[in-house]
Amino acid sequence: MKKFFAVALGILTAIGGFVDIGDLVTNAQVGSRFGLSLGWVVAVGVLGICVFAEMSGRIAAVSGRATFDLVRERLGPRMGLLNLAASMAVTLLTFIAEVGGVALALQLVSSVSEVLIVPFVAVLVWLVLWRAKFSVLENVLGLLGLALVVYAVALWKLAPDWSHLAHQWVTVQKPADEGWNTWAYYAVALFGAAMTPYEVFFFSSGGVEERWTVEDLSVMRANVFIGFPLGGLLSLAIAGCTAVVLGPLEISVDTLGQVGLPVAVALGKIGLAVALLGFVAATLGAACETGLSVGYSLAQYFGWQWGKYVRPDRAARFHVVLGLVTVLAAAVLVTGVDPILVTELSVVFSAVALPLTYLPILVVANDPDYLGRHVNGRLANTLGVVYLGVIGVAAAAAIPLLVWTRMGA
C-alpha cells in the first residue's frame, strides 16, 4: 500500500512538474496561431523526453552517475567543458525565464509590476534552494502544479467541436495565413519546450539525491511513462483552450495574462484562481529545478560535492553557485527585459543544446561497464537512435529558423 502511494505520488508530481513557463507560453502561442495542427510535435517531444529521461534515470539508479559526470567521462575535459558552457547557458536562460514567470504570475494576482516582484521571487527561490528538503520541493510544488488540470476542465467546459480538433491534430492542418517557415519554427520551439535539457539534468541528479537503486527502476519508469505523457496532455489542453477561445479572435499570445483568459471564459473566477495557483506552482517548481540544474552541472563537471542530501556547508561551492545564479537571474530581470521573450528564446536554444547531453547519455546507456545487464534493449535503442536523428535535425534547424522567421513574427 505504501509502495502504491509512493508510485502514485511520483506520477502526480511528474504530471504537475511537467509544465513550466516554456510549455505554458509556447503551447498557448501555438494553440492560438496554429490550432492543434502542431499537436503532433507535443506527442513527439513527450515521447522523446520519456526516452531521454528513462535512460538517464536508469543510469542514475544503476551506476549512481548523473548527467555531467557522464559528459566529462565520455567526451573528455575539453569537449566536456564546451558542452558544460553551452548547456549551462541554456539552463541559465531557462532559469531566468522561470523566475520571470513566477513574477508574471504573481503580477496577475497583485497587479504590481513584475520588475518589483522579481527581487522577492529571487529571495523566495533562494530560500527554497537553501532550506527546503529535496522531497518537499519536489512533492509540494509538483502537486500544486496539478492545478493546471484546470485547463483540461476548461477545454471540456468550452465544448469545442472535438472531431474538428482531432482532425486538425491528425491531418496537420496548417492555417492558411501562416507560412511554412513560421510553422517549422514553432514546431522546433514546441519540441524544445517539451524536451528541455534541464528536465533530464534534474531528473538524473534527483535520482542520485534520492539514492535510487536497481529496485527503484520500475517506480522510475512508471513516473516517466505515465507521468510525462499525462503532463503532455496538459500541454495539449492549454493549446486546445487557446485554439478554441483566442484563435478565432486572432489573439496571438504574448503575455501570461492572455494565457489565463480561456480559463476565465470557461470557468470564471474560481477556475482562474486555480489556474493562477498552477502558474505560480509550475513556474516556481521549474525555477527551483533549473537553478539546481545549473549547480548540479557545474559541480558534476568539477567533482565538487553537490546535492541537498548533505548539509549546505558540506556542499559549499554548490550552494555558492545557487546563490550566484539567483542573483544573476534577478539582476537580468530587473532591467525590465520581457520574461516572455526570454522564455521564447530559451525553448529554441533548448532545442539547440539537446544533442550535447543526449549523445553521451545514449552511449553510456549502452555501456555494460556502467549498467551491467540493464543496458538499452532493442526498443530503447531503436527509439534512442531515431530521436538522435530528430534532435539533430531540430538543433540544426533552430537558429536558421529563428533568424529567418524573426522569432516567428
Binding site: 497587479s111 483566442l246 479572435l249 495574462g257 476565465a264 473566477k269 533568424v403 524573426r406
Partner: protein
C-alpha cells in the same frame, strides 16, 4: 586530436561561422523594400489588433464577473505596453516612396488604437465600471478597422481596392 583533424575542425567552424553570417545578412535587410515594408506593417497592425482583441475579451469577462479586477488591470496594462511598443517600432521605419500615404494611415490608426488602449487602462485602474460597456464597443470597432487595414496591406497600393 591529431593536427589533421584539428585543421578540419577549424575549417568546419570557419565555414559554419561564414554560413551564419551569410544567413544573418540575407535575412535582415537594412532598408526595407516595398514587400518587406508591407510585411512589417501587417505585423504591426496584427500585433495591435491582437492586443485590442485580448483587452476586449478580458473586459467582456469582467462584465460577466469572470475575472478579478487586478487580473484585468494587468492584462490591460501589458496590452497597452505591447501595442505601444509595436506601434512605435513601426513608426520608426522608413516607408518606401510608393507607400508614404499608407504609412501615415497605418501610423495614425495604430496611434489611435494605442490611445484607446490607454483610455481602457485608465478606466480599469480607476475601476470606472460604468464605462466598460462603451469601451468594449469601441474596442470592437477598432478591431474591425485593424482587420480591414491588415487585409489591405496584403496588396500593393494600387491593387488595394479590389479585395
Amino acid at each position: 586530436m591529431s593536427p589533421r583533424w584539428r585543421g578540419l575542425v577549424r575549417a568546419m567552424s570557419l565555414v559554419a561561422a561564414l554560413a551564419q553570417l551569410a544567413l544573418l545578412t540575407a535575412c535582415a535587410p537594412g532598408t526595407p523594400d516595398e514587400g518587406s515594408w508591407r510585411l512589417d506593417a501587417r505585423h504591426a497592425v496584427s500585433d495591435v489588433s491582437s492586443q485590442t482583441a485580448a483587452v476586449k475579451l478580458a473586459l467582456d469577462q469582467e462584465r460577466r464577473g469572470h475575472v478579478f479586477a487586478r487580473y484585468l488591470q494587468t492584462v490591460a496594462v501589458e496590452a497597452e505596453e505591447n501595442a505601444g511598443a509595436s506601434s512605435e517600432k513601426f513608426s520608426a521605419t522608413q516607408p518606401p516612396a510608393a507607400e508614404t500615404s499608407r504609412y501615415s494611415r497605418v501610423t495614425d490608426e495604430l496611434e489611435r488604437d494605442t490611445g484607446l488602449l490607454a483610455d481602457v487602462r485608465i478606466a480599469v485602474v480607476a475601476r470606472r465600471e460604468s464605462e466598460y460597456a462603451a469601451l468594449a464597443h469601441q474596442l470592437a470597432a477598432a478591431s474591425e478597422r485593424l482587420a480591414t487595414l491588415e487585409r489591405e496591406l496584403e496588396h500593393a497600393p494600387g491593387a488595394a481596392s479590389h479585395r
